[in-house]
């Protein structure tokens, strides 16, 4: 297998799942499948990004995603630099642009960005010369998470088309949900959204997704149950009354899981609130794919970095 990047991905940036064709997604998943094998070797290194500079620019703390991108870049031979930017110091779009201009002057090849504001990554992408990967922007998109979820599903079920996937929990605030909805629908899955009405984005049903406010109904005959993290600070706001109430009606336990198909698989983007959105016995049970999702995360990020590297202007 050649280490040279192949031009299979016709986009300079990965800013979201929106805008990708099913073929683009399939190509990335196929490439990621290969990276899984690389990661499972004793010698995990490739040279496709040798000499390249990858900056992980995180305006929000995220150990998991940042580590995953860092490992992915390093396995491809890139020089990886992590930049933590305290969100308190970046309050205005102008400051974000200043940061982008400064970084651009350092001539990176790929910038991986996470930002608390939806659309911030798009703004940054307009101001730099290199490729930009969205590692999560506000409640907008988290494309690599959706791709790793898709890869995990495809490897376990052999397909995505025709499956019934229930995405459950805090849909309103979730970039994971938004990217997954678009990707899974594009790949032919039947997507259901399950949440209390206070955590469903207004008008979401008009976008063509089935919505349910009852877990029992939403999970009925589902192939995949994808749980979302509920941020605890929102629990005591007005969205839901309490942790106890949330778990009673919307937390995934064996009783609710029994409404899904017997061979249904359980996913969660992590980190989990055990006893809030998922019970421990389900999270650690035989139907859980949660640990596998983490492994697929590295493979998908390797695939994305490699695919973008094929378009770098200074090749």
């Amino acid at each position: 297998m050649s280490d040279a990047p192949r031009s299979i991905f016709p986009h300079r940036h990965l800013l979201g799942i929106e805008g990708l064709s099913p073929l683009d997604i399939q190509a990335l998943l196929d490439l990621a499948d290969e990276q899984v094998e690389v990661s499972r070797q004793i010698e995990k290194s490739k040279s496709s990004l040798r000499g390249r500079t990858q900056i992980n620019l995180f305006f929000e703390a995220s150990t998991r995603t940042q580590s995953s991108f860092e490992i992915a870049g390093k396995r491809l031979g890139a020089d990886v630099m992590n930049m933590q930017v305290a969100s308190s110091s970046v309050k205005k779009g102008e400051t974000l642009i200043d940061t982008a201009v400064t970084l651009n002057a350092m001539r990176p090849d790929i910038i991986v960005v996470r930002h608390h504001a939806a659309g911030a990554v798009h703004l940054l992408a307009q101001k730099v010369d290199c490729s930009v990967v969205n590692a999560g922007d506000g409640a907008h998109e988290h494309p690599t998470q959706a791709l790793l979820d898709a890869l995990t599903i495809r490897r376990n079920k052999g397909r995505i088309a025709g499956l019934t996937v229930a995405i459950c929990g805090d849909i309103l605030h979730s970039r994971v949900a938004r990217s997954n909805m678009i990707l899974l629908a594009a790949m032919g899955a039947r997507v259901r959204l399950v949440a209390p009405s206070t955590l469903l984005p207004p008008g979401i049903a008009r976008l063509g997704f089935e919505t349910f406010t009852s877990m029992e109904q939403g999970l009925k005959d589902a192939d995949i149950v994808m749980m979302l993290r509920l941020q605890r600070e929102r629990m005591n706001g007005s969205f839901v009354p309490s942790v106890k109430e949330y778990f009673r009606f919307y937390g995934l336990d064996q009783e609710k899981l029994a409404f899904a198909k017997p061979d249904a698989l359980v996913m969660h983007p992590g980190p989990m609130n055990r006893g809030v959105e998922i019970s421990s016995d389900v999270a650690d049970g035989a139907q859980s794919l949660i640990r596998e999702q983490v492994e697929m995360g590295v493979a998908v990020r390797m695939a994305v970095l490699e695919a973008l590297a094929s378009h770098l202007p200074n090749r």
Partner: protein, 430 residues
């Protein structure tokens, strides 16, 4: 409960669910109505109650009563409230959550349900708090509270001023098909007011409460109902403009219903007279024009239910200067008698009145009662709509005696009250 069937005969049957009115009888067995109508004949083993031509109708369902238990048993207990209710023909009482502790915890709702079952002779259904501690900031555990037995969600005598909290509560409650009951009164507009704002308040030198305190809040709520689709019931309206708002909301098909207190149908601000604190209520008694508008709105169905707004206060909180006295009056025992004034004045038919006192509350709360039909719960009352009496507060069963109808001439008294097939009240004179 005895298994012996009971036959009511020689009755004027009024079924507010079907508007049917006929002579006949009702046979009750095992807590439900087994037969009803002119053809009902005596069963060999039945205990017979001769109604002697009096009205037999479904028991009244009162959607708004404050009971002091837990926390204020000197004002009213579940037991004393039950006795007062039975004497007034009320077979189901919805108790408000303004207790100590507040009814915002599933365990406390469970306690009330059990305690009421053990001590009260009528059905008492607790309404749980809509927000934690009735503080209007965080919604209560609507799902768990409903599972524990809460029949509706309300902050009782308080209003939720935070529109975002109200929006989310309406949105969340919709998932559980939970009913939100709201006291519509903007506390900022109420300010220091103690009675209806207007000429009479000016003469008495008392600070007034404008009608807008009610209409501003009601208008906001209706718009939030339109946004969220939640089931909403304005606990009590008191003025003509409010009736217009509800009328318009219903015209648009919104899930909005409303109530009126018997006090606002029977009394007006002039009844305050010489600073009578038994007339100090929330919302305040309004102008006669508003009272007339309330009666019209009741007659045309804009107002769905009549409530007692039973709110017992002890002597110490009422024997004070008007401005300092507590709001509220007892009302369970006089609800029917006072409401019958409207029938005697020819303003509303008896079936229509009974519909607002039994069938509509049952429909709004999702209860099986409020109808005279086979299979319905045997929650029944027999009353003589013309029996005259003068109310003597010393004869009230309620532990508190703050009735605005004290010494009033009333017509219509309940002679028998049955709950779940058991006679729980019989007046000696019958």
């Amino acid at each position: 409960m005895s298994n012996q069937p009971i036959l009511f005969k020689n009755a004027r049957l009024i079924d507010p669910a079907s508007d049917r009115e006929e002579r006949g009888g009702v046979l009750v067995r095992d807590g439900v109505i087994q037969a009803v109508g002119p053809q009902v004949s005596e069963a060999a083993d039945a205990q017979v109650i001769d109604c002697a031509g009096q009205v037999l109708a479904p028991g009244l369902i009162d959607m708004r009563a404050f009971i002091g238990e837990p926390g204020g048993p000197y004002r009213e207990t579940l037991k004393s409230a039950g006795e007062a209710a039975a004497a007034g023909g009320v077979t189901t009482v919805v108790s408000m959550p303004d207790t100590n502790p507040v009814l915002d915890d599933p365990a406390v709702i469970d306690f009330i349900v059990r305690r009421a079952r053990d001590t009260s002779i009528v059905n008492i259904c607790p309404a749980a708090a809509l927000t934690k501690g009735l503080e209007g900031q965080e919604m209560a555990e609507i799902g768990r509270l409903k599972e524990a037995g809460a029949i509706a969600f309300t902050d009782g005598a308080r209003s939720v001023t935070n529109a975002q909290v109200m929006r989310r509560a309406l949105t969340y409650a919709r998932d559980f098909d939970a009913l939100i009951v709201h006291h519509v009164e903007d506390p900022d507009l109420v300010g220091q007011g103690v009675m209806n704002e207007g000429e009479f308040a000016s003469r008495l030198g008392l600070p007034g409460i404008p009608r807008e305190a009610e209409t501003v809040m009601l208008e906001r709520d209706v718009r939030l109902v339109r946004l969220t689709g939640g089931r909403y019931h304005a606990a009590m309206i008191s003025c003509a403009d409010s009736a217009e708002i509800v009328r318009a909301a219903k015209g648009k098909g919104l899930p909005v219903t409303c109530g009126v207190s018997i006090n606002h149908l029977a009394l007006n601000e002039n009844d305050i007279g010489d600073y009578r604190t038994f007339m100090k209520l929330s919302p305040p008694l309004r102008h006669e024009d508003d009272r007339q508008a309330m009666i019209e709105a009741l007659a045309d169905g804009t107002i769905d239910v009549i409530v007692s707004d039973h709110n017992p206060q002890d002597v110490e909180t009422k024997r004070l200067p008007f401005a300092e006295a507590a709001d509220g009056a007892v009302g369970l025992e006089t609800l029917l008698s006072a409401a019958l004034r409207l029938v005697h004045e020819g303003r509303i038919s008896l079936p229509r009145l009974l519909r607002a006192l039994s069938r509509r509350p049952a429909e709004i709360l999702g209860l099986p009662g409020g109808r005279l039909s086979v299979g319905a719960p045997a929650d029944l009352i027999v009353f003589d709509p013309d029996a005259p009496y003068v109310l003597d507060k010393r004869h009230l069963r309620s532990l508190s005696k703050n009735s605005p109808f004290d010494e009033a001439r009333l017509e219509g008294q309940v002679s028998t009250t049955m709950v779940a097939g058991r006679v729980v009240f019989r007046r000696d004179t019958m």
